[in-house]
């Protein structure tokens, strides 16, 4: 077995794995029924799904003899920004009460999003 063949197989495998997890993520988005549950599907697609596709891209560049680390950068930006958008969708859900009411926190008064006491003065 030559190195090229091993690289090709590894690349194909990571592309298939990435596509599979992205598919399951989209399927979950269709299948799950309430807003909070549906949020779990895209986090899956964006971590292992995109991660495996980027690994495939990195291996392909390595096989062509022009190694590239830009995929690492894409993954880093994605991992930094994905939780923030998920967090904001959560906050909108909580604010619009489109999900079950969460339990009251033990030490503090309430959750930051539900803390509307100061809003009435506007």
């Amino acid at each position: 077995m030559t190195l090229d063949l091993v690289l090709d197989i590894a690349m194909a495998a990571s592309l298939v794995i990435g596509a599979l997890f992205t598919l399951v993520g989209s399927f979950g988005l269709l299948k799950l029924d309430d807003a909070m549950k549906r949020l779990h599907a895209p986090t899956k697609a964006s971590t292992l799904g995109v991660g495996a596709l980027l690994l495939g891209s990195s291996l392909a560049a390595f096989g062509r003899g022009e190694p590239s680390l830009q995929e690492v950068l894409i993954l880093a930006f994605l991992f930094v920004t994905a939780p923030i958008s998920a967090h904001f969708i959560c906050k909108v859900n909580l604010h619009r009460r489109s999900c079950d009411t969460p339990p009251t926190p033990a030490k503090d008064q309430t959750w930051a999003t539900l803390d509307t006491a100061g809003d009435e003065t506007r």
């Binding site: 909070m36 899956k44 959560c90 909580l94 339990p103 033990a106």
Partner: protein
């Protein structure tokens, strides 16, 4: 001398991060790239330092690396577990629930890292902080008991983050 260093390099770690990012964006480590990266790495923190009044106390880099490896490994395992749940379980059989996690960590950097880790690990999404920042609200897709999820997150991630940042 010290105030001069602070004026030119308000955030040395940010400067380093910008140089590395610039080299990755242009995909080269040629001297010219490095020089331009250094110029950007000095100018950007200087221009934005008004918005970053405090600097983090620093972190333990070795423990941070161990933590990142653990998180990547957990993302892999949790992905497979959650994909299996999504495909095989019916909506009604999923025991999705809220989990309230009382926080021991107090620094904003550590809490941000914890919330990000929880969201990136499939099966749990961090939703909100309590008004004074003592509790983190997490939504779990399928959990047998909220207590187990809470204890695992506290044991596995929060304990390590406390060692890294505090």
């Amino acid at each position: 001398m010290k105030s001069l260093t602070r004026a030119v390099l308000p955030h040395p770690l940010l400067t380093l991060l910008l140089i590395v990012t610039w080299c990755l964006v242009t995909n080269s480590v040629a001297p010219g790239t490095f020089v331009l990266g250094t110029i950007l790495g000095v100018l950007i923190p200087m221009g934005t330092s008004a918005y970053w009044p405090g600097a983090p106390n620093g972190l333990r880099a070795g423990k941070m690396l161990v933590y990142l490896v653990i998180v990547v490994w957990d993302i892999l395992l949790a992905n497979i577990a959650v994909a299996w749940i999504v495909v095989t379980r019916s909506n009604r059989a999923m025991r999705s629930t809220w989990v309230a996690i009382p926080l021991d960590i107090r620094t904003p950097e550590a809490i941000t890292m914890l919330a990000g880790t929880i969201t990136l690990t499939p099966g749990t999404v961090s939703a909100d902080l309590s008004d004074e920042g003592h509790t983190l609200l997490v939504h779990a897709l399928d959990a047998e008991s909220p207590e187990d999820v809470r204890d695992e997150i506290k044991q596995r991630y929060e304990r390590r983050l406390k060692e890294i940042f505090e």
